[in-house]
């Protein structure tokens, strides 16, 4: 191709992929193959598309979500571990005009914060909750979470989780769907383009419910933690499909509006 032709073609080229406005110009520090980055990006895209960057407040605690305030170009509150649903409740009640989301891991949402998570859902708080279920504690070194699968080896269940000692993987989304408070509860994954597309739709739907004053939404993400699972990213994606989905099936659990 002649130089003129290249120049002519480039002029025609449109930028089709860029960093969302709601993310800062920074590189994520998540581990290779981790799904947090994909989920963060999808949330940021949804915020951009809904035009709510200026009126959104995120709440994210410790662990792998500790730097959320660095990644997102929105106002962020960092609560104590487990308290995210209660802190989001406080912010939303004080300023109902804001769009408030809670970003919580499985230890946060389903273990130390179960009381706060459950009651926020039961009150039908008008917030949007993202619950990242990677079946263990990531940042602290791969300990068992309440979502750890039976037989799964973690640093605190070196022989694998047994039901005798620790019971069964907790099904928060199904539990909360039993309540009359929540509006929308769904379980999503982001391991392939089809799933990413569905997750994107779910995130936007959840934010819209809040913007329309419809109440509490919960999106549980089955998320990969290749480092603590001792797998490469592709194996980790396969594990979600073959093992994690067996216990935690994907799809909408309730939708009431």
């Amino acid at each position: 191709m002649s130089e003129e032709a290249v120049a002519e073609n480039t002029k025609e080229m449109k930028k089709v992929f860029d960093r969302p406005e709601s993310l800062n110009d920074q590189q994520f520090s998540y581990c290779p193959g981790c799904h947090h980055g994909v989920i963060n990006r999808l949330i940021a895209e949804a915020i951009d598309e809904l035009g709510i960057q200026d009126t959104t407040v995120g709440t994210a605690p410790v662990g792998c979500s500790v730097f959320l305030y660095k990644w997102f170009d929105i106002d962020v509150i960092q609560p104590a571990h487990g308290r995210v649903s209660a802190v989001a409740t406080g912010a939303k009640r004080a300023r109902p005009d804001l769009t408030v989301f809670a970003y919580q891991g499985d230890g946060d949402f389903a273990s130390i914060g179960t009381n706060n998570s459950t009651h926020a859902a039961n009150r039908g708080e008008n917030i949007t909750t993202f619950f990242i279920n990677n079946t263990l504690y990531g940042m602290t070194g791969g300990e068992m979470a309440p979502t750890t699968l039976i037989g799964q080896k973690t640093t605190t269940t070196p022989q694998g989780r047994t039901a005798k000692d620790y019971g069964y993987p907790i099904k928060m989304s199904e539990m909360l769907a039993e309540l009359d408070g929540p509006t929308y509860i769904t379980r999503q994954a982001v391991y392939d383009p089809k799933r990413i597309d569905k997750a994107r739709t779910a995130i936007k739907k959840a934010f819209r419910f809040q913007m329309e004053d419809e109440g509490y939404s919960l999106i549980e993400f089955l998320s990969a933690c290749p480092i603590n699972w001792g797998m490469d990213p592709v194996e980790a994606n396969e594990r979600i499909k073959k093992e994690v989905e067996e216990v935690y099936p994907l799809g909408d659990i309730i939708e009431r509006s």
């Binding site: 200026d54 407040v57 106002d75 104590a80 308290r83 009640r93 004080a94 804001l98 009651h119």
Partner: protein, 351 residues
């Protein structure tokens, strides 16, 4: 000032908070502060987007305070001793994130479940940092119901001015008793100072973060240095106390809250017997008015501390005063309120 009303301490505190512009209140029921919660449920102004929310737990309540305070709105929670223990996590986070908030502790007897009688056994918890990390709360100790209302109102101003949580430390006696109260005139919340640090949506400005987290040692050291600098400023500007008959006393009695009120009766009884009893009443328990107490202690041989606990504030008294003089302690525990005559017996040991 506004109108005069006969009110229970818990109600006066609640109403003073609303008049101070508190529009967010989160709490969990516990005796002997239940009337505070109930007053808030009934009187929080809904028209102005006032929020009353009974939380799922004390931990939930203080976390909701954290979220609401992050938006810059005036926010409060209240409880009694065991509930305040549960709130310590959130209080440490409020202090670390420099969030203004007011926490009311209507103290009862402990440790553990204890009972629902008045006590002052949470002095250490309030003044020395009940949660983790190096932090300080401004601790205000009212001695009467009118003063409880006045200090509640003031607590919101102090919290905002210093971006620091403030504890109103009263006890079941003050919470439950009724006295005439002159209520402050309501604040127009739109007149309050703007809080440019708050997380209210960016609306075109750079994004704000509310956090107590700093990854590096130097970064966290610098945050701690700034906090300590703030605490020094508070010490200089906000130390408060009351003095009665301290010019040439035979004995100087140090007491706060309910006990200081009882000590006034002891002072009258002492006077009848020709004993001049001076009273020094710290109003801010932190910052503790140690410098003034040190000056006063130069004129006496005995500084007697009386508390409804096993001896907590007395440690600050002893740190403050001349080590050459007597610094005895008399305390009652378990909800027993010291009798004025019994206190006089203690005083007479040193005359």
């Amino acid at each position: 000032m506004g109108e005069k009303k006969l009110m229970r301490g818990n109600e006066a505190i609640a109403e003073a908070a609303i008049r101070a512009g508190c529009r967010n209140y989160f709490a969990y029921p516990i005796t002997p502060q239940a009337e505070l919660l109930q007053w808030m449920a009934e009187h929080m102004p809904e028209k102005e987007n006032g929020t009353f929310l009974q939380a799922e737990s004390e931990i939930g309540a203080i976390s909701m305070v954290y979220g609401a305070a992050s938006t810059g709105e005036r926010t409060m929670t209240s409880s009694s001793s065991p509930g305040i223990s549960l709130k310590q996590e959130g209080i440490s986070y409020l202090a670390g994130s420099e969030l203004p908030a007011v926490i009311v502790n209507i103290m009862r007897g402990g440790p553990g479940v204890g009972n629902i009688q008045p006590a002052q056994a949470d002095y250490f918890q309030a003044t020395k940092g009940g949660g983790h990390g190096d932090y300080r709360l401004i601790v205000l100790a009212p001695s009467t119901v009118p003063e409880a209302a006045e200090l509640t109102f003031e607590a919101f101003n102090l919290a905002d001015e210093y971006r620091n949580p403030v504890i109103l430390l009263a006890d079941g006696m003050i919470g439950q008793m009724m006295e005439p109260v002159e209520l402050p005139s309501p604040v127009d919340t739109s007149d309050l100072q703007p809080k440019p640090w708050a997380t209210t949506g960016t609306d075109g400005r750079d994004s704000n973060t509310i956090r107590s987290f700093a990854m590096g040692a130097e970064a966290l050291k610098s945050i701690n240095r700034d906090l300590q600098g703030k605490y020094e400023n508070i010490k200089k500007a906000e130390t408060r106390y009351e003095e009665i008959g301290v010019d040439d006393p035979d004995v100087l009695l140090v007491a706060f809250g309910t006990v200081a009120r009882i000590a006034r009766t002891t002072r009258r009884l002492a006077e009848e017997q020709g004993i001049n009893l001076g009273i020094f009443r710290p109003i801010t328990l932190w910052p503790f008015p140690g410098d003034r107490l040190a000056e006063l202690s130069k004129k006496v041989d005995t500084v007697l501390t009386v508390e409804m606990n096993a001896g907590q504030m007395v440690e600050d008294v002893r740190l403050s005063v001349n080590s050459e003089i007597n610094t005895p302690f008399y305390g009652e525990q378990g909800g027993v309120v010291p009798d004025p005559g019994r206190i006089l017996q203690e005083v007479k040991k040193y005359v």
